[in-house]
């Protein structure tokens, strides 16, 4: 009787250790990383900011996409906003899609930001950060991805596109995505 009890206790202890190990392996395997250049951009569907309905990234397949992650509390996002709007206005006629993803932000503040900067390209909200942090590995906004017509990542810019290091890279990435 005691022998069986001892075996059960040992099995239980082993099961606990195995469970903890499995949890550790799972967390290591599921750590999210930013999709690299050349890889497919993770699919997502998000609610429109301040409007009804949802937008899915897949619905833009066949068109180059500029995916900009921002937040109203982010200072560099303010300086970048005007440049994004200008580029959107000049590139949309060629079929380039600009998508803004507002991240870890209050709806009301985000809508105010969009209105204050006169942004007209589609805006999505990701309050929980599941897409932004989870799928795209964005840690600090602003970050911008440029995707080609097949949905592959052409460029990933970690910082404002107004940064001298990124300005040229951003335009050449759009040209590459359109090709």
């Amino acid at each position: 009787m005691t022998g069986r009890l001892k075996t059960t206790a040992q099995a239980l202890a082993l099961a606990c250790v195995a469970g903890l190990l499995a949890l550790l392996v799972w967390s290591v395997v599921h750590q999210q990383h930013a999709p690299g250049v050349g890889s497919m951009a993770p699919a997502f569907t998000l609610r429109r900011l301040g409007g009804p309905g949802k937008i899915s990234l897949a619905s833009f397949r066949g068109r180059p996409v500029v995916l900009n992650f921002w937040a109203s509390w982010c200072e560099p996002c303010k300086s970048e906003a005007a440049v994004l709007e200008r580029d959107w206005k000049s590139d949309r006629s060629r079929g380039v899609v600009f998508l803004g993803v507002d991240f870890h932000d209050l709806d009301s503040d985000a809508r105010r930001f969009v209105s204050a900067h006169g942004l007209t390209f589609p805006m999505l909200e990701d309050g929980s950060g599941n897409v932004t942090q989870g799928s795209y590995g964005v840690s600090q906004v602003p970050e911008t991805y440029v995707l080609d017509r097949q949905g592959r990542v052409v460029a990933h810019l970690r910082g404002p596109i107004t940064d001298p290091a990124f300005a040229g890279q951003f335009r050449s990435a759009i040209a590459k995505a359109e090709a």
């Binding site: 005691t2 206790a9 937040a71 109203s72 509390w73 982010c74 200072e75 870890h104 932000d105 209050l106 709806d107 503040d109 309050g127 929980s128 950060g129 599941n130 600090q140």
Partner: protein, 155 residues
């Protein structure tokens, strides 16, 4: 007299919004410990990031509007998701986070108690053997007598 009037006016100014609240007003200090900063993964009181400041501003405004702590937390959850709360809710799957540690401690106590009980039970049968030790040396009487004689010479 003038000083008394100033104090009275100030007291009324502070008392008026409080009186307008039909329930005890929650505080920013309290909620700062209950709400997470979404970008730095600490509670608001531990963070000075712009995202945390934005949420603190939101909370302060809602407190001034007489919102309850629960109402403010609900609004934040609707905006940021459940992860904005420092502690899991007391509903559904989240209940596990509250009960598992308690169950773990209880299970540990039961295992410990059982182990102690087993250990004390194992010791008991050994005790009666101890008095027999002098005669349980495994030597016959003759050898023991000779051994005692030998030892007596060295005394």
């Amino acid at each position: 007299m003038l000083r008394f009037a100033a104090v009275l006016v100030a007291a009324l100014a502070f008392a008026a919004p409080a009186a307008a609240c039909p329930h005890p007003r929650t505080s920013l200090n309290y909620l700062e410990g209950q709400v997470m900063c979404p970008t730095c993964h600490t509670t608001l009181d531990m963070s000075d990031s712009p995202a945390a400041q934005q949420i603190e501003g939101f909370i302060s405004k809602r407190i001034a509007m007489c919102w309850t702590a629960q109402h403010i937390e609900s609004a934040l959850v609707a905006n940021y998701g459940q992860a904005i709360l420092a502690a899991p809710s007391h509903r559904g799957f989240d209940l596990l986070a509250w009960w598992l540690p308690i169950l773990g401690v209880l299970a540990g106590a039961v295992i410990l108690a059982f182990g102690v009980w087993r250990w004390s039970r194992r010791k008991e049968p050994d005790e009666p053997d101890e008095p027999d030790e002098p005669t349980g040396s495994g030597l016959d009487e003759e050898t023991e007598r000779r051994l005692d004689d030998l030892l007596a010479r060295y005394d």
